[in-house]
């Protein structure tokens, strides 16, 4: 009896497995095709061109900057959300929704929204332009802002998950021993959730690296200034599909390597 029970819980019904395999294929096959179609022989030459290197350097610098900013902004926001557990339902849900929206929003919409806020005729942008002569679109800073907008939720939710699952008793102990709230946060809470923070940063970086829609809408596309790898890949599709595939492959490789280094529990979906 016990054995039969173990068997039936250990295995899935075959239709479920079959459908799951189809689902997996939907996700993986396009990437397989990319790898199969990649111009392997010409790859070193394609990826070594100065235009690609320029986009690569720009992508990495902006994504690292965006991740750093996300760390500074995101950890306190994650702490606030974790703290909001004791809030009334509506404000708690609104807070969570506000952080989740950029995750589900088409990035192009994010780009339009950023333009409406920070563009030369935008809500804040107009004032920045008139007062300081500062225009944000078409600058490398705009790329970073677009990346922060789309990547910040990844960091926030990873850190929030870590905060929730961490053992709060140490914090209590520290507090009863006379540590201030700030001291508790710095010396107890942060080290406790450090793996979650690291995982969140890695996810955040990967998302920033892949950012396309918000960037092209808000920051534009100028080689060396705003043309990141995804945009270079999109433009290459107009004239040289081989180069586009090579660039896409590069982005895929970076993402996969980064994700493989993450432990299962920190992947999105397993923390929420």
């Amino acid at each position: 009896m016990a054995r039969a029970a173990a068997r039936s819980t250990g295995r899935l019904a075959w239709p479920i497995t079959a459908i799951a395999v189809v689902a997996l294929a939907v996700l993986v096959l396009p990437l397989v095709a990319l790898v199969v179609r990649a111009p392997w022989a010409d790859l070193p030459e394609l990826l070594g061109s100065s235009a690609v290197l320029e986009a690569l350097v720009l992508s990495f610098t902006t994504a690292i900057t965006a991740t750093a900013v996300c760390l500074v902004l995101g950890i306190p926001l994650a702490a606030l959300i974790a703290h909001a557990e004791s809030w009334p339902t509506l404000p708690r849900r609104l807070l969570r929704a506000a952080v989740t929206v950029p995750l589900v929003l088409p990035p192009v919409v994010g780009g339009i929204a950023l333009l409406m806020l920070l563009g030369r005729r935008g809500l804040i942008g107009q004032w920045l332009d008139e007062t300081f002569g500062l225009t944000i679109p078409f600058t490398t800073g705009a790329v970073v802002i677009a990346q922060i907008f789309v990547a910040l939720p990844f960091l926030v939710f990873a850190v929030e998950g870590a905060l929730r699952s961490s053992d709060r008793r140490t914090e209590l102990a520290a507090a009863t021993l006379g540590a201030s709230r700030w001291q508790v946060f710095r010396h107890v809470t942060l080290p406790l959730v450090a793996p979650g923070v690291a995982a969140g940063a890695v996810l955040c970086f990967t998302r920033a690296l892949g950012e396309f829609g918000a960037t092209i809408t808000f920051a534009g596309s100028l080689p060396g200034t705003t043309r990141t790898l995804p945009i270079a890949s999109y433009l290459a599709m107009q004239t040289d599909p081989d180069e586009a595939v090579a660039l896409a492959l590069l982005l895929l490789a970076v993402s996969v390597i980064v994700l493989l280094t993450l432990r299962d529990r920190w992947l999105p979906g397993s923390t929420a």
Binding site: V21, V22, L24, A25, V26, L29, P30, V32, A33, V36, R37, L115, G119, R120, R121, T135, P137, F138, I216, A219, G220, S221, L222, P223, T225, T226, R227, Y234, L235, A236, M237, Q238, T239, P241
Partner: protein, 279 residues
């Protein structure tokens, strides 16, 4: 910008699951088989086409003109549905070569069409319109732009098309002819994206087709550039003849009829109103 998963799948047929996916996706993607005509018996006018869905891929600069032409064609042929997908001509050519479903291709320049012809997917493209560039500024011309020379001013915000798309290639040629080294702040992937940045006031000046200036209405102002007359973009159109396509006869006939319509008198008239030149 629809992309067919057909090619992607073709390369991966070795994998067992591919067949299943193909079956699942086929339901969502292909729409070649239309329900047979039930009510209307064949009318006397032989011009009426059978029910068909025609997919047209057209250059972004054709947006307004082709929306209009498609509507006119549908009105004359009630059983035909024309779906137009707009984008950069080069990207559209790549999509067609990669197997995107397309019955007609209208390009903003000859090289992308040539790629499609070379791939054996179209024959005998016909040039049906011409276009030239014009300087465009936001309404009121806040930066006081006067001519092509202003595009070289690094203090101004300038948008141009990327050289990989026809309007960018034409812009580069025009600027080279005039000996101007432009200082662009962004190189966009199609002409409509450039125009948007102008109408939003995000850039001070840009080069777009004169038809786009016309289409944008009061949001922008055009500044004629005499030298632009030397750089003429020729727009070819052709029906796509993909031997591996699942298009039925009605669809092929409707696609050919649409090409004929665009290149014919009615099409010429409509294109005129949108500012396109006669080839």
């Amino acid at each position: 910008m629809t992309r067919s998963p057909r090619t992607t799948l073709r390369t991966a047929t070795g994998l067992a699951a591919a067949a299943l996916v193909a079956l699942a996706l086929a339901g969502c993607v292909t729409s070649g088989d239309e329900p047979a005509e039930t009510s209307a018996p064949p009318t006397e006018t032989t011009a009426t086409l059978e029910a068909a869905d025609v997919t047209v891929l057209a250059a972004a600069s054709l947006t307004e003109a082709f929306d209009d032409l498609a509507a006119q064609f549908e009105e004359a042929n009630p059983d035909v549905t024309i779906t137009v997908s707009y984008g950069g001509s080069g990207a559209l050519a790549t999509q067609i070569i990669e197997g995107a479903p397309a019955d007609v291709f209208a390009s903003a320049a000859e090289p992308p069409m040539q790629q499609v012809v070379d791939a054996g997917l179209a024959t005998g493209p016909v040039v049906f319109a011409t276009n030239t560039l014009e300087l465009v500024v936001p309404a009121g011309n806040p930066a006081g732009v006067t001519g092509l020379d202003d595009l070289a001013n690094p203090d101004l915000r300038i948008a141009l098309c990327d050289e990989s798309v026809p309007c960018g290639a034409a812009s580069a040629k025009l600027l080279a002819n005039e000996g101007i080294t432009a200082a662009p702040d962004t190189l966009e992937s199609d002409v409509k994206a450039v125009l948007t940045k102008v109408s939003l006031g995000e850039v001070d000046a840009a080069l777009v087709y004169r038809t786009d200036v016309k289409a944008a209405g009061d949001d922008v102002e055009g500044i004629e550039v005499p030298a632009a007359a030397d750089v003429v973009n020729r727009y070819p159109i052709a029906a796509i003849t993909d031997p591996s396509s699942d298009a039925d006869e009605a669809q092929v006939a409707a696609a050919a009829a649409f090409v004929e319509f665009v290149t014919g008198d009615a099409g010429r008239k409509t294109l005129d109103t949108y500012g396109f030149g006669t080839p």
